[in-house]
Symmetry: C2
Subunit: 129 residues, 2 copies
């Protein structure tokens, strides 16, 4: 059974901002600014609990701190290779409707992740100068 707590409420509030995909470190910093004696372990434990109970989505990063998404409606993301900034992408590629179960023979597929990699607007501008 999952109980409420101040840190958990704050995390959910932070992740309710549209198109916002903060890293664990960023979430920790924001929670700590409001609840100063929050430990990083609490943030990790809450993010894990919320993810496994399906209330938020974990965006696993290859390197660096994981990011999280509070929007449960299926969509994709684009990730800046330079600063790591992650934004929502709403593309109709048809995968969302497709019956994933027979996409791969002999594999019970239940979900997918589509990520675009590139350079975000700010980093592109910075590179020019």
């Amino acid at each position: 059974m999952i109980k409420r707590s101040r840190p958990k409420d704050e995390i959910l509030r932070i992740l309710s901002v549209p198109d916002h995909h903060p890293t664990t470190e960023e979430i920790f910093a924001e929670v700590k600014s409001l609840l100063p004696d929050t430990g990083i372990a609490t943030v990790y434990r809450n993010l894990e609990k919320l993810t496994s109970s399906g209330m938020i989505i974990k965006l696993e990063r290859g390197s660096g701190s994981s990011r999280y998404d509070g929007n449960l409606v299926k969509h994709d993301h684009c990730v800046c290779k330079i600063c790591g900034k992650t934004s929502d992408v709403w593309l109709n590629h048809g995968l969302g409707d497709k019956d994933l179960s027979d996409v791969v023979p002999g594999f019970e597929v239940s979900d997918y992740t589509l990520e675009f990699f590139g350079v975000c607007g700010e980093c592109a501008k910075r590179k020019k100068n």
Copy 2:
């Protein structure tokens, strides 16, 4: 300038096996079985060098050791949520042909990753018993 070496050659040989996506640890174990005094750092350094020179592809895993792919032809993967086994997926979703540059406005997209998650045949069988 990138020079050849026994460990590097072994890594490339291991990754030339079709539909084989070993983790760093697995690659290390296989190289070490042939070249017993290979250090793990050598494997990491070679994988990084081969990846950045475009000779192999790194499959970043959210958790656990990264996997690598020696097949440079663009394709997708499916990943077993239980054992981590990763297999090639050749699907014509049209993304490969699409001009990625205008998939996301204000974002210079240069590449994408599509991964399916589910349960592989072996793990499905094991779960039944």
